[in-house]
Assembly symmetry: C2
Homo-oligomer: 349 residues x 2
DNA sequence: CTGAAAGCGCTTACAG
DNA sequence: CTGAAAGCGCTTACAG
């Protein structure tokens, strides 16, 4: 069935050995490896005559790596609900994989148990199929990641920064800094009393933003009241709460999620306030549902770029010597987008 | 660098030969190839202990199957613009791949030339890495597909039905029948003069729908005027054209694309007509941008199911003996959705 | 019931 | 300057 010419055929036709053909073809004729110009010509002639192209599979087998990059998610890779969330990462990953000559393996054969996939199946690291893998998704399994590190399997985590013994290579966005920029934007407009509305749960994203939020006050030299940090859930943000905020003198809020931002926006408007004239609202990130809602002031997460960067980082990991122990952790900057939900406060200084 | 456990390692640990390990792992223990249960257990134990995963490259090189299914698109797999179009296919593919225990390879290393990827790179079928592949996308290259068939590489085409020597295995939707159902719906409402608005180009989708359209008249026993078929582009559908249609006595139109449907809808309304009271409009397929537009009467394409079916068909192809020459071509039924853009005509019988 | 051997199509020291 | 040999990690007859 396979009638492609092989290296042997070329060697025979050129009247040389396989090694010589290999050297010529791969451009490895140098000081260490001399081949006469005449021989080289004969080789190339034979290559042309037969239409020989080296089998990439064989090449990689002989060379050690298989140029396969894995993509692993603990939940389904193509979930309907989160498509807008994942998509940009995939775009970036595909893009960079193309540049670097990698193919991508989706670990779809990992069966889901309770809606979660596992890396280790019956004790075996299923990612081993690929030279390395990119992990992404909302959930994770610390134990599995820990094990990955132990066995020195090359991988890069996208998005999460949570550390397992501080040795997880990841690419993410600098939400702390981005939050600081949003705050600065509000300061510049004249706001001084700004609330941070965050989720109840103590997750990384909430915390990072909170750090950016409080640091902003310090750096700007403005006083800050810890009561301005409101932990809540979108559903619990009611009229009473907004009334309280405004009574405190708050003129702007930064919201952790689009759910929260949207809720405050709606409640405030129902109460007869106009946004942003009476209250500025900024979103700390991208809205998941791009279509809905007003034109937020926000920072946008460079998801596509994160995907690209992850592939690069992984490629470096794979190609480097094992000893290179420096764990790479990359924070990409976000872009501040000045929308229509922020403006000077009524009582502008 | 490569510390992956190899077949040899497993064999040593289990105290058997490589062949035995290979047989056990690949489930090739049968009448012809007996391995005692005890030995099998030892092999599996060793596999687990070492965390062994067979290298897919080596597997393919040696002639076996590697349980890898390829996904190939002539354009980028994750295009931003068409994400809503591709996504459901991928969901279905992933889903079924999981069921069947296949991993997916995205052929991202194929470089794009003028925005198109090629299967054969310098004469080499890059898909060979996988046991078989699913091709999808808007564009295609007939020559490459032909070659795929010649070398008997297992693949399934999604969406397209266009034939290269009639031997392309594909999974698609039955747009002809679905169009017939839309027509029947209009007939039932009392419409008799129905126009078909299609694109200028002579593509498969236009043609299939046209067949369903004309057959509907025949089967219902209603007269049909070939002037009711209007070839145009969305941009060219102007007031004059709609005026002409209505003057002819047309009370309903079926549109090939959402672009066309949307255009007629807008033009007619600008002219002061109300939809569907004055003119019923049905869309022959799904709107690409789900958010926009009215609640169309349409037929919805089972894209997710198409993806699943494609994986199943491919799996069968891979597992079957080479001789099985029957080319499978599957047409999945669509679902008629009665929206708010069709109703009884003004001059209802 | 199991293993030794050849082979897939290449690359890479190494020896001359 | 060039080639014979071993090896990449598997599978597949084949022999016992």
């Amino acid at each position: 069935m396979n009638q492609r010419p092989r290296l042997t055929d070329v060697a025979k036709l050129a009247g040389v050995s396989k090694s010589t053909v290999s050297s010529v073809i791969n451009g490895r004729v140098d000081e260490a490896n001399r081949v006469s110009p005449e021989t080289q010509r004969r080789v190339w002639d034979a290559v042309q005559q037969l239409g020989f192209v080296a089998d990439p599979l064989a090449r990689r087998l002989a060379g050690g790596s298989n140029h396969l990059l894995g993509i692993f998610t603990f939940e389904p890779i193509f979930p309907l609900r989160f498509r807008d969330f994942f998509y940009p990462f995939l775009v970036g990953i595909e893009n960079e994989a193309e540049q670097s000559g990698f193919n991508l393996v989706l670990f779809t054969s990992a069966p889901q148990i309770n809606g979660r996939r596992t890396i280790y199946q019956e004790g075996v690291n299923s990612l081993r199929l690929a030279d390395g893998a990119i992990l992404l998704g909302l959930h994770d399994d610390k134990a599995e990641i820990k094990r990955l590190i132990q066995e020195k399997y090359p991988f890069v985590y996208i998005g999460h920064r949570e550390v397992t013994e501080g040795r997880v290579p990841f690419v993410t966005y600098d939400s702390t800094r981005a939050t600081g920029e949003v705050m600065q934007h509000l300061f510049d407009l004249g706001h001084r009393k700004i609330a941070y509305l965050r989720l109840l749960e103590d997750n990384e994203p909430s915390w990072d933003r909170q750090v950016g939020y409080t640091q902003a006050f310090q750096q700007a030299g403005y006083t800050f009241d810890s009561n301005w940090i409101v932990r809540s859930q979108p559903a619990l943000l009611n009229i009473a709460l907004v009334t309280d905020l405004l009574a405190t003198g708050i003129t702007a809020v930064v919201a952790e999620t689009d759910g929260i931002a949207m809720r405050v926006y709606n409640v405030a408007r129902e109460m007869g306030y106009s946004i942003p004239a009476d209250l500025s609202i900024a979103l700390l990130g991208d809205p998941l549902e791009a279509a809905e809602g007003p034109e937020w002031t926000l920072f946008s997460i460079p998801r596509e770029q994160i995907g690209q960067e992850a592939v690069r980082l992984l490629a470096r990991q794979i190609n480097s010597s094992q000893d290179e122990d420096a764990v790479q952790q990359i924070f990409l900057p976000c872009q501040l987008v000045k929308g229509k939900t922020t403006s000077r406060p009524r009582s502008s200084p």
